[in-house]
Structure formats: C-alpha cells, structure tokens
C-alpha cells in the first residue's frame, strides 16, 4: 500500500470529495493564495500547511475561495451555505482563531438542528490546525478541541495518523452534522500506509493501535504518537498496555475504553490540553463513574499544565506532555 503523509492524505480526501459531490467547497485564508499578487499566480499557498494544494487548479476559484482575514464571516458564511443546501468546508488557519469566530461556531452552527426542532441539519466541516510544537507561543499553539467538546451539537474529531486523517475527513464531509476537524500541526509530516481510493473511518469509533494486559492508556491526537513511544519502550521490560485512540472526543467511544479498563484495571489518560475541564478529566470522570469496580489503582492524568503555551524551546518542550511523562504515569499506576 502507498505510504503518504498526514498532509497528503488530507489533501487526497479533499480532492476525492470535491470530485464526488459538487456541493462541496472550501473557504478560508490563503486556501489557494496569490490572488492579486504581483506574480499573478493562484495556488501560491494551498493553505499555509499545504493541505489544500492543487484544489484551485482543478476546481476553480468558485469552489476554492480565498477569503479576507475575517474568521467570523468565514464560519458564518459556511453555516449559511450549509443551511442553503451546500456542503461547505471552512478552514481556520490556526485552531486558536476559533476565538474570533466563536459566536458562529457555538451559538449558530452548534444550535441549528436542535433549536429549530430538527427541521434542518448543518453539514459544515471546520478544519483546524491545532496544537503546540512549532514554538508559535500562546495564540497559535492551543489544542482548543477540549473546549469544543463541551458544546452540545458539535462533533469533535482529531485524527492521530495519516490513515485516519483521510478516512475521518471523508466521513466528516459526508456527515450531516457539524464537524470540527482538528489536524495536529506536529503530525502533518508523519507517514503511514494510506489507500489511494476513497474510504471512510466512522466518527465515534475508537482505534486500538496497541494491545496489552497491564494498563489502559487513552490518548488523543499527537499524544497517541507519544503514547506509542512510551508503550513500546515499556514492552521491552514486559509491561504491556492497551492504547485506545478514541479519534473523536464527541461522540466518545465509551464502550471501548470501559472494556479495556475492565481487562487491565488500570488507566492512564493523556492529552496535550490543560487539565481542568479537559479530555483527561472528562475520561477519568467517566471511568470513575461507569467503571469504578474495575479499577485497582487511581487513574493517572497526563496533561499540559494549567498555563498558556510558552514560546521558548525549553519551555514549550516542558509544556507538552511527551513520552517520558506518559512512561512515568504508566509506572506509577502499576506501583
């Protein structure tokens, strides 16, 4: 099977869905790039992370829409187009810019289906480059998905590898409900086997990239990669872990997590977001109430600290929970 990067897998999903359904279009800042530039080149950017590369050449400026820097209008226009029967994909250049467009996300997009008595759905996908790792400091490095998970009416998806990136993006585009699609910036260059043909990965079903007996590790997004490192290292010492990647925080595959904890009796939850009201706390609470009798040790939560993301290399490295933090937590739960 061909090996592709996370970036290229997403790009391929976009190309294939644009091809399949004429109602699909994308809007965002520099999704083509180069409009009114002195070189007269469109597709000068293809998104600043290159995910939308080549789309404008194939599908034209009506379906690959460069917008002014106006995040409220980007999300609002996507919402309106969806209500009017289209399948828009909105791109925010960085997930942090949810802040600028918050009303259109949580008061509008998330509410329509329920508030209008089930008379409409709002099939918008919002693509959101997320997370730390590029030393871009406090306003360009946040995960954000943990906040969005608390909003009823939104699906919140965060693929951890290239295969899932393609399959989940196709599912998201075909989904009738709003999907916030978080692409970790630290994963864009990661590669794995990705089929050429279109395929879907169902939203709400966990993946189990490692299986073992001693501890259950639940991790999201780039933390899955770090958990794999920690788990593979401990495997050499004979400690074996289940690794559950829920792939979406909403809907959450509670069943897979609970089944695994029932078998291992120990739980470590890992995420790059801050600890309070975040994904690690949410899953720890869920297991404590629904799987308490399975537990033989306190649940370990591995998260970022309760601070903004700092700039300097040393600080950002200390901020992001990495393999060493995860390894320590696994050992602690076994102690």
């Amino acid at each position: 099977m061909p090996i592709k990067t996370y970036r290229d897998a997403l790009n391929e999903a976009l190309h294939q869905e644009f091809e399949r359904d004429e109602r699909v279009f994308i809007l965002g800042e520099d999704v083509s790039g180069g409009q009114a530039g002195s070189a007269g080149v469109v597709d000068a950017a293809g998104g600043i992370f290159g995910v939308t590369k080549g789309l404008v050449n194939k599908f034209g400026v009506d379906r690959v829409i460069d917008t002014p820097i106006s995040e409220s209008a980007i999300i609002g226009a996507a919402n309106g187009a969806a209500l009017a029967g289209m399948r828009p994909i909105a791109e925010l250049m960085f997930a942090d810019f949810i802040g600028v467009s918050m009303d259109q996300i949580f008061n509008q997009l998330a509410k329509f289906r329920y508030m209008f008595g089930g008379k409409t759905t709002c099939p918008v996908v919002v693509r959101l480059p997320t997370g730390a790792g590029m030393n871009m400091a406090a306003q360009h490095s946040q995960t954000m998905y943990q906040m969005m998970t608390s909003v009823p009416g939104l699906k919140v998806v965060m693929p951890a590898n290239a295969y899932d990136a393609k399959g989940l993006l196709i599912s998201a585009i075909r989904d009738d409900d709003p999907v916030l699609f978080f692409e970790h910036k630290g994963l864009y260059n990661d590669k794995c086997e990705v089929p050429d043909e279109p395929y879907t990965v169902p939203i709400g079903e966990a993946d189990m990239p490692r299986e073992g007996d001693d501890v259950t590790v639940v991790a999201f997004s780039r933390s899955v990669k770090f958990a794999i490192k920690a788990i593979d290292k401990l495997q050499e010492e004979g400690i074996s872990c289940d690794l559950v990647d829920p792939r979406s925080s909403s809907p959450l595959d509670e069943e897979t997590i609970l089944e695994s904890v029932e078998a291992t009796s120990r739980l470590v939850v890992v995420d790059e977001s801050p600890p309070r009201c975040g994904l690690t706390a949410d899953i720890a609470a869920m297991v404590a109430s629904k799987g308490f009798s399975s537990l033989k040790a306190p649940i370990e939560q591995v998260s970022a600290p309760h601070t903004p993301v700092p700039f300097a290399r040393e600080l950002e490295r200390a901020y992001v929970p990495g393999p060493a933090h995860i390894e320590a937590a696994i050992r602690k739960t076994l102690a």
């Binding site: 180069g34 002195s38 002014p68 871009m136 400091a137 601070t307 700092p310 300097a312 600080l315 200390a318």
Partner: protein, 319 residues
C-alpha cells in the same frame, strides 16, 4: 525638525532595518525558534508615528511588531533576547517575536491575533480620557487586518465615545499570500472615513510624511475631537514570515521596492539636499547602529535560557 531629533529619527529607521536584516540571516541558522515576521521596508511608518509619542502614549502592535516596539523605545537588546527566547527577554522568553511588550514604554504588546489590537487601543484611549490626560492610544493594523470585524467595531466605538485613539493602517499590499487589492473590498481609506473620523494619508516610505500626518492626528485628539486614522501605503521587503517562498510576488516587484521605496534612501537624500545632516553624521549613526545590532545578537546568544520550572511562573493558579 531640529538636528538631534532628525538624527534620532534616522537612527531609529536604521536600527529597525538592520535588526530585521540581521534576523533574516540569524533565523536561517536555526537558532531562533518559531515564526518571525519582519518589518523591513515599513520603518517610516513606525518611526514617523512614534517620534511624536512619549512613554505615556500607548501603542498596540501586531504580529509584525518589531518596528513598532523599537520605534516606541523598546530596548533593542532586551527585544533580541526575547526573540531568542531568553529569560532576560522583555517577556522572559514566554512571548517571543509575536508577543513583545514593554508597559513602561506604553507598548501594550505585539499581538498574534490579526485584528486583536484596535479594541485594546480604544480601551487605553478611554483610560486616557477618563484621567483627563493629553495622550493618545495608537493601534497599528495592516491591510489584511482592516477586514476584521473587531477593527470595524473598534473604530465605531472610538467615534461614539470620542476617545483619543489613532488607527494607523499600514497597507503593504499583502495579507500573507493574498493581495490587498483582492481582499479589501471597496477603498480602505474611504471605508475608514465612513466611520466619521478624519483620515490623514501619508507616504509610508517617507518619514516626514508620516510624521506630519501624526502631528495632525495628535492635534485632533488634543483638541478633544476624538479619534482619527492614518493611512499609509508602504512596501514589505521580505516574505510574510522568514522562509516564505513568495511565489505570489514577482522578482520585479521585490527589486523595485528596494530601489524606489526605501525610507532610508529617501530620508538621506532629503537631509543631504537641504543640508540638515552631513554624510559624516549619517555614517557615524550607521556605525553605532551596526554595533548595537551586533551587541544585541551577541548578548541574546549568551543570555540565560529558561528551565522547565519557569513554565509555572507568572500564573495565578497552578493545578
């Protein structure tokens, strides 16, 4: 303008230019982390505005903020240390290039959120007005930033409240990879006038032109007439960020702006022609600037690095 002031303005322009040119080289070594947006080409705007301000006036800057901060008196060495991520940097290495602030100098921060600044400047102007001070609060915005709702809201609020804010628009032709002619609907100048405040236009490559416009804007505020704007077209010499391949720009454009829109050349020609400064004075200023930039890089390289425990400093609550 008296000689000292003129020489100072020239040195400021030169300092910003050389700071940015040097960063462009140093970033290529991989030593500096993150994304850096260089201000080279636009110096006349920052210096033209800030030479009329003192420490009690406020500025709110942007992601492309080095020039604004230096022009407003931000310490060059401490800024360089911040960009290198040292604990001796202006923000202890927590902010970096996009988040330089110095509250003693009235620098309320560079801002990583496009359009995040102008509402803050209105708030600072409210503070000035309530205290009865004769100061101004200046926000810098780009052509791209001018399309954010927050910028419209800020201008309207300032007009409604008649506060002494000055909205500076630097049209450098691009917001990232997209031309202003595409992204700005209508006419940025007329749009701004539409809010009911005067807009003073300036040549963004000419220090004197921006300085004059700023004098008018300050006089307007000091007369209790509320906000105004300054609109300046200016060149952006480098890419959007260091490393930007700039496929959207022609080579001709890049060489043309260096040749014909260089605020240093333009200022030098004027002061030599009217004999207000001599070649020797300018050469001495140049030497001092080059030494300052060298010192800044040397100091930043040698400055102490943060340790992991510093992550938990400067928060009020820790879990």
């Amino acid at each position: 303008m008296d000689k000292d002031k003129l020489l100072r303005a020239y040195s400021q322009l030169k300092t910003i230019r050389e700071f940015e040119e040097r960063l462009n080289v140093e970033i290529a070594t991989g030593e500096i982390a993150g994304f850096t947006h260089l201000y080279a080409g636009q110096e006349a705007v920052a210096v033209g505005v800030c030479e009329s301000l003192d420490d009690k006036d406020y500025i709110v800057s942007t992601h492309r903020g080095h020039g604004h901060c230096m022009a407003k008196g931000g310490d060059v060495i401490d800024m360089m240390k911040e960009i290198y991520g040292s604990t001796e940097g202006l923000c202890k290495g927590k902010g970096g290039s996009m988040h330089i602030a110095d509250f003693d100098r009235g620098i309320l921060g560079a801002n990583g959120i496009v359009g995040g600044g102008p509402p803050l400047a209105v708030g600072a102007a409210i503070a000035i007005k309530q205290r009865g001070d004769k100061n101004v609060a200046v926000s810098f915005s780009g052509d791209g930033s001018s399309n954010q709702g927050t910028v419209f809201e800020a201008m309207n609020l300032a007009v409604v409240l008649e506060v002494p804010s000055i909205f500076v628009f630097e049209n450098n032709g691009y917001g990232e990879h997209t031309g202003a002619d595409y992204a700005v609907g209508g006419d940025l100048l007329k749009r701004t006038q539409g809010f009911g405040m005067p807009v003073f236009t300036a040549d963004g490559a000419d220090f004197f032109s921006v300085y004059d416009a700023t004098q008018k804007a300050i006089a307007h505020a000091n007369a209790g007439q509320g906000p105004s704007a300054i609109y300046a077209e200016c060149p952006r010499y480098f890419g959007h960020y260091v490393g930007d391949p700039q496929k959207y720009r022609s080579k001709d454009e890049l060489s043309d702006i260096r040749e014909n829109q260089d605020c240093l050349k333009i200022l030098r020609a004027k002061v030599i022609e009217d004999a207000s400064l001599t070649e020797a004075e300018l050469a001495t200023a140049d030497e001092q600037v080059m030494k300052l930039i060298d010192d800044a890089v040397t100091a930043a390289r040698a400055a102490p690095r943060p340790v992991a425990a510093d992550v938990l400093e400067d928060v009020y609550i820790n879990y």
